[in-house]
């Protein structure tokens, strides 16, 4: 019996998503990333004596969009609370968060599972402010950068419904997709706009009680989420099988070693001394306000995937890949709107366009080639103006230069040669140059047809219309 049959993994995730508001949660400082240290700060977000927080209305709207996109219920009233602890990147000595009464509860999302999906519950979604950052300088000193302090976040807490590291990564991928569709978070894990902590435990398969969990922090890519959780599962199983016990603790993932290391035990855990934030009145959201925000949500990935499959007839796999980000789905739909057949559009977008995105343009909006050009290119292939392989050259060129496909084809002389007289001349030249092969062909070795076609293609740079070329070669070889 393998370990997987004996042990079941239980995972719950806490995801922090930075809301992409222009200003911070409680002051009017900019949230721009990558500015000079402490340039986006003021007395409020630096925790000066006497300052007070004022709630950013657009952050509430973004958080509400996120919660509604995750199918949450919105209680009529939520409340901010102070989470107290000392750290130099936390200027007030407390973080303004939500505790007893969060913004939203009881949501869910669907992660891919085989050909279908699996539902993962969302316990709660609450708003909070981010802390600043410590920059470790030379020697023993550290410097504090408060640019990020006060940036609005939502914390999204899942139910312990996740059963493997791969599911955990799928959950975060799905969540990121929903949040970017809802336009509340840019989803950039490398810059920390989306951060994930995992509560991991194992239990004997069939058991209904939870094992002791460890919280894993510092996983800043999908790859690391899977690696860290898989390492942690193995660690816990080995520990138990060797007669040990898992202790409740916080563990840090080290991406260099691929291991998780103990950061602090339960005994060392902070007592955050939460209490209601007296500087902010309760946040009251009327049903009308909630309805207004709900109505403003765009079509979400689930619905779009379904529509791509059902209405456009795309395979499930295509629909899933194309809807992963809203921008890619928009790009694909624009190709279809410009006249391309859905399946052809899907093939080109998932193939050549996605390949182009791996380079310097991480998002479809950064591409120099508009969707219309992809549709034009598909039309040119279908009309026989260029071959499929030339089309690949054209799109690679176009993604670099931004030139329209017709321009590239014209400038590089890539149009197919369908003019018989031009092809006659090329075929004659090949026949004249290869008398031995001609003799063998005529003696019955017809497989050599491909050799002659290939030689002509070589001489024309692939531009010969392959169908016509075949006919001409066959004709010419027939006649002595």
């Amino acid at each position: 019996m393998s370990r997987n049959d004996q042990w079941e993994t239980v995972i719950g995730l806490e995801v922090h998503a930075q809301l992409k508001t222009a200003t911070k949660l409680f002051c009017s400082c900019s949230t721009r990333f990558g500015e000079a240290p402490n340039s986006n700060t003021c007395p409020v977000c630096s925790g000066y004596p006497g300052v007070l927080p004022v709630l950013n209305g657009s952050a509430v709207e973004y958080a509400l969009r996120a919660a509604l996109a995750l199918g949450c219920e919105i209680p009529p009233m939520s409340r901010f609370a102070r989470k107290n602890y000392f750290y130099p990147d936390l200027p007030k000595g407390y973080q303004i968060s939500q505790y007893e009464l969060p913004l939203a509860v009881h949501g869910h999302l669907e992660i891919p599972s085989g050909d279908g999906t699996k539902r993962v519950g969302i316990t709660r979604v609450h708003m909070e402010e981010d802390a600043g950052k410590l920059v470790h300088a030379e020697g023993a000193s550290s410097l504090v950068d408060l640019n990020r302090a006060g940036t609005p976040l939502v914390e999204i807490v899942s139910e312990p419904d996740i059963r493997s590291a791969a599911e955990a990564a799928d959950y975060v991928r799905t969540l990121r997709s929903i949040l970017t569709y809802a336009e509340v978070c840019d989803g950039n894990m490398a810059e920390g706009s989306l951060r994930c902590d995992a509560n991991v435990s194992v239990r004997p398969r069939g058991s209904t009680t939870f094992g002791t969990r460890a919280e894993i922090k510092n996983m800043n890519s999908f790859k690391f989420i899977e690696k860290a959780i898989n390492y942690e599962i193995e660690r816990q199983i080995e520990l138990i099988e060797d007669g040990g016990k898992v202790v409740q603790e916080t563990r840090l993932f080290d991406s260099r070693t691929g291991r998780t290391e103990s950061m602090r035990s339960k005994e060392e855990a902070h007592d955050y001394r939460y209490f209601p934030e007296p500087d902010l009145p309760p946040l009251v959201l009327t049903p009308a306000r909630v309805a207004e925000v709900r109505a403003s949500l765009p079509e979400l990935p689930d619905a779009r995937r379904k529509r791509f499959a059902d209405d456009l007839g795309l395979p499930t796999y295509d629909a899933r890949v194309l809807t992963e980000t809203r921008e890619l789905a928009d790009y694909f739909e624009d190709v279809v709107k410009a006249g391309a057949a859905p399946k052809a559009a899907s093939n080109w977008v998932m193939g050549e366009v996605l390949r182009g995105l791996k380079g310097e343009a991480p998002a479809p909006s950064d591409l120099k080639w508009p969707p219309r050009y992809v549709a034009d290119l598909i039309a040119m292939v279908e009309a026989g103006t260029i071959s499929g392989s030339v089309a690949k050259t054209v799109i690679a060129e176009g993604l670099e230069s931004g030139q329209a496909p017709a321009e590239i084809v014209k400038a590089k002389g890539l149009s197919q040669i369908s003019d018989d007289s031009a092809l006659f001349a090329e075929v004659d030249a090949v026949i004249a140059a290869n008398p031995g092969e001609v003799e063998k062909y005529r003696a019955g070795k017809e497989a050599l047809l491909g050799f002659f076609v290939g030689q002509v293609m070589k001489r024309t740079g692939g531009k010969a219309n392959p169908k016509r070329l075949n006919e001409i070669v066959r004709d010419k070889l027939k006649a002595p």
């Binding site: 007395p43 630096s46 925790g47 000066y48 004596p49 006497g50 300052v51 007070l52 927080p53 004022v54 709630l55 102070r82 107290n84 000392f86 130099p88 200027p91 007030k92 000595g93 407390y94 504090v144 007592d271 001394r273 939460y274 209490f275 007296p278 500087d279 902010l280 009145p281």
Partner: protein, 499 residues
């Protein structure tokens, strides 16, 4: 005595009138106050920072505007001073604490900005119990303030500097802050008028927080009218304070002369119980009778949860304080004690050296009552009792327009008398604390003096946002009491002299 020398004795309303009429200049008024400060400050010690030069240049700027016929505000050229818990741009804001001794505020509190816009001239920052924790102004890192009526007595606190400066004639009005009585009790001890407005009436933006759900800024002055004039300037909604109330302000000065005819005044029986000093009780009862004589109807009311108010307050206020004072960690501003060792060492050294005993005591209490396992027994329970206290007042106000009672159960303590007995001091807040717990407006007006010549105060408490009623009752009492515009002589004679 020259005319200029006597200027400091005028009422705020009168000096403002004369400056606007150009009978005296703002500079003359400022110099008169600075001269009075020079004469008495060594004995009273109201100020932590005095900036005479800045005051004179601000006064000259007002005079220049008056000369060109510019529109000036209602307080144009009037010398005032600020409790050192209020942020004022470019000036030290210490809160009476060593931990903020090196700190200079980069911005103005909303009330400070409003005073500046109204033309007031600030002489500087006033002494206080450290972080407003205390009721004697002995818990200041910069030495105690003395009661101008009797220098071996405390001025009350925590706004002791604010009350003493006005009583001593050092300026015409001051701002204080009141979390559990810190405006009303020192006003009472120093024989001046002080109002704690409804919670949310005055913006707290720029008020260094002690207990955010209880703190409120208010003015102190030598008359009810002057106090009303100050409140008219500083009150009003502020988008930078989410707890500030978006309600209209009023011409409270118009209420002062309206009289009490037709008003029902409630006398809470719990305010006249055990522990009330007989002289205080007698003075307050006499003023209630006098108000009845002026046409007020007197009704008996009950505030049955009063005995629990002190305990409730001393859970909630320290809880909030423990969190509010966490930012003084030596990282960004203020004191940092030493660079050696770990981060935790730096925190410990800085906070050990920077905070005084009373502040440490309250941080410890507050941290304890919020801790896991104790939160429900203390903090949550106290919040529930707070609701009961608030309901007491709501019920009482079904039967009356305002409550009348003492401010403090005892006359001023001697300096050093009670510092070793924090519990006695906490219990002396019993009559003021409920008003903060319920978020109500309360005013203290002088109502007499003890045989020893120490001032006694009368407290009037109203329903939320009924400052108008407070000014009516306080104005009516002041009109018949003879206790108006008194300045402590500080001429070496014993206490009790009237101007």
């Amino acid at each position: 005595m020259t005319a200029t020398d006597a200027l400091w004795k005028l009422s705020l309303a009168e000096v403002a009138r004369r400056i606007r009429a150009k009978d005296v200049s703002a500079e003359e008024a400022t110099r008169a106050c600075l001269a009075r400060v020079a004469a008495v400050e060594a004995r009273v010690h109201s100020f932590i920072h005095l900036d005479g030069e800045a005051a004179i240049s601000a006064a000259r700027a007002i005079d220049a505007r008056l000369a060109t016929g510019d529109e000036v505000g209602p307080l144009a050229g009037v010398p005032i001073a600020l409790k050192d818990v209020l942020a004022a741009e470019g000036t030290a804001t210490t809160c009476g604490s060593k931990i903020l001794e090196p700190f200079v505020s980069p911005y103005d509190a909303t009330c400070v900005a409003r005073l500046k816009r109204a033309g007031a001239v600030s002489l500087g920052k006033l002494n206080m119990d450290e972080f407003a924790m205390g009721s004697t102004t002995e818990h200041s890192a910069f030495g105690p303030t003395r009661n101008p009526w009797s220098l071996d007595h405390v001025p009350g606190g925590s706004s002791g500097g604010s009350a003493a400066a006005v009583a001593a004639g050092e300026c015409f009005a001051t701002l204080g802050s009141d979390t559990g009585g810190s405006i009303r009790q020192p006003a009472s001890f120093c024989g001046v008028v002080g109002i704690k407005p409804t919670y949310g009436r005055v913006s707290r933006f720029g008020l260094v927080a002690f207990a955010s759900s209880l703190d409120q800024i208010g003015p102190l002055a030598r008359s009810v009218e002057d106090t009303a004039l100050m409140l008219e300037v500083i009150a009003g909604h502020d988008p930078r304070d989410a707890t500030s109330l978006d309600v209209p302000t009023a011409r409270w000065t118009d209420e002062v002369g309206k009289g009490v005819k037709g008003l029902r005044l409630g006398i809470p029986k719990e305010a006249f119980g055990e522990g009330l000093d007989p002289e205080v009780g007698a003075a307050v009862r006499a003023s209630i009778e006098r108000l009845a004589g002026e046409g007020a109807e007197i009704v008996d009311v009950e505030l049955p949860h009063t005995p629990y108010a002190v305990a409730t307050y001393y859970v909630l206020a320290p809880a909030e304080a423990s969190s509010n004072l966490a930012r003084y960690d030596g990282v960004r501003y203020g004191l940092r004690a030493g660079q050696d060792g770990s981060l935790v060492d730096m925190y410990k050294r800085t906070r050990s050296a920077g905070f005084g005993d009373e502040v440490k005591r309250r941080i410890l209490i507050g941290t304890y009552v919020l801790s896991a396992g104790y939160y429900d027994a203390y903090y949550r329970k106290a919040q529930q009792v707070r609701t009961l206290v608030r309901r007491d007042y709501e019920k009482a106000f079904e039967r009356c327009d305002a409550l009348v009672m003492p401010v403090a159960p005892e006359p001023p303590f001697k300096i050093g008398e009670a510092t070793g007995d924090p519990l006695r001091l906490y219990l002396s807040d019993v009559l003021t604390i409920g008003v903060n717990l319920a978020g109500l407006p309360g005013i203290s007006v002088p109502c007499g003096a003890s045989k020893a010549g120490l001032p006694i105060g009368l407290q009037i408490v109203g329903p939320p946002l009924r400052e108008d009623t407070l000014f009516r009752v306080a104005g009516a009492w002041e009109g018949v009491s003879g206790w108006k515009n008194r300045v402590a002589p500080l001429d070496g004679s014993s206490a009790g002299g009237a101007a």
